[in-house]
């Protein structure tokens, strides 16, 4: 054993002679139990985010289903209606369209 080993051994043995007070032992035991229990508690708590996520998914699904139903009830715009809306012709023209069709047919005759 060289000088360094002897010094290390001496310091190690000296440090190992330290004894903890009862208060410190109790405090460490309490700290240990708190740490171990924290994980057990966390496993119960970990349901909360999962439950919150599940609730969110249900709400989103509900909103989507209701939205689809509402959309189904909403009258669908016909292609003809779109043509009327987007046309530059006067709206009265379309109101009297039957007359113009009749007039046009009459002209052909």
């Amino acid at each position: 054993m060289n000088e360094q080993d002897r010094l290390e051994q001496k310091i190690r043995q000296t440090l190992d002679r330290q004894q903890l007070s009862d208060d410190s032992r109790n405090a460490l035991r309490k700290a240990r139990m708190t740490a171990l229990d924290s994980r057990s508690g966390q496993s119960v708590l970990s349901w909360k985010p999962a439950a919150a996520f599940a609730s969110l998914v249900l709400i989103i699904a509900g909103v989507l289903v209701l939205g689809v139903q509402n959309e189904a009830e909403f009258p669908q715009a016909d292609v003809e209606d779109l043509a009327v809306i987007s046309s530059e012709d006067e709206f009265e023209f379309y109101q009297e369209l039957e007359f113009y069709v009749w007039f046009d047919e009459d002209q052909d005759v």
Binding site: L7, I11, T14, Q18, S21, R32
Partner: protein
């Protein structure tokens, strides 16, 4: 955490907590802060690393502890600077620096030789103290100590060699 892991961690902490506390106590010289640092390290290990392999617990535990001690030193330095600034401003007021806080029972339990060793250790820079305690007292390998202190293996070797050299100077006469 299942019951088997809980029991294994309980056994690990029972075997490590006293030395971890004494190590923190040696480095901080504050009974309450040392306890708090150990408790915080236990909590972090349980909450973040209980799923890891058991042989990884010790290096992780000491890494968390020594990171905590490093942060503790930083805060102490900031407090010290603030205290000095306050002392400069307060001409007549006497502001006393906080004394080394040990539990009364702990004080009674340490003998003269231990006091000399602790005093010698406390004369080393923090990194040298940490390296020495992990290598010589905790009997960690260079690699494990490097992981625990988040430094390279070469740094561990350097800090350790310097610590030994200084301790030999301080305690050498009594050792021979």
């Amino acid at each position: 955490m299942d019951e088997i892991t809980r029991q294994a961690m309980d056994v690990f902490f029972r075997g490590s907590e006293q030395r971890a506390y004494l190590m923190a106590m040696t480095l901080t010289r504050n009974h309450h802060d040392a306890l708090e640092l150990v408790q915080e390290s236990m909590l972090k290990l349980v909450q973040n690393y209980c799923d890891r392999k058991q042989e990884e617990w010790a290096p992780l535990f000491y890494r968390i502890l020594h990171n905590g001690i490093k942060d503790w030193y930083r805060k102490q330095k900031v407090r010290q600077v603030l205290r000095e600034l306050m002392l400069l401003r307060a001409d007549d007021e006497t502001i006393e620096a906080p004394a080394c806080e040990q539990s009364a029972e702990h004080k009674a339990l340490i003998d003269d030789e231990l006091t000399r060793v602790l005093q010698a250790l406390q004369q080393l820079p923090l990194r040298q103290q940490q390296t020495f305690l992990l290598r010589a007292w905790q009997e960690m390998s260079t690699r494990e100590a490097a992981f625990a202190l988040s430094i390279s293996e070469n740094s561990v070797k350097t800090h350790y060699a310097r610590a030994i050299q200084k301790l030999r100077q301080l305690l050498g006469d009594e050792n021979e």
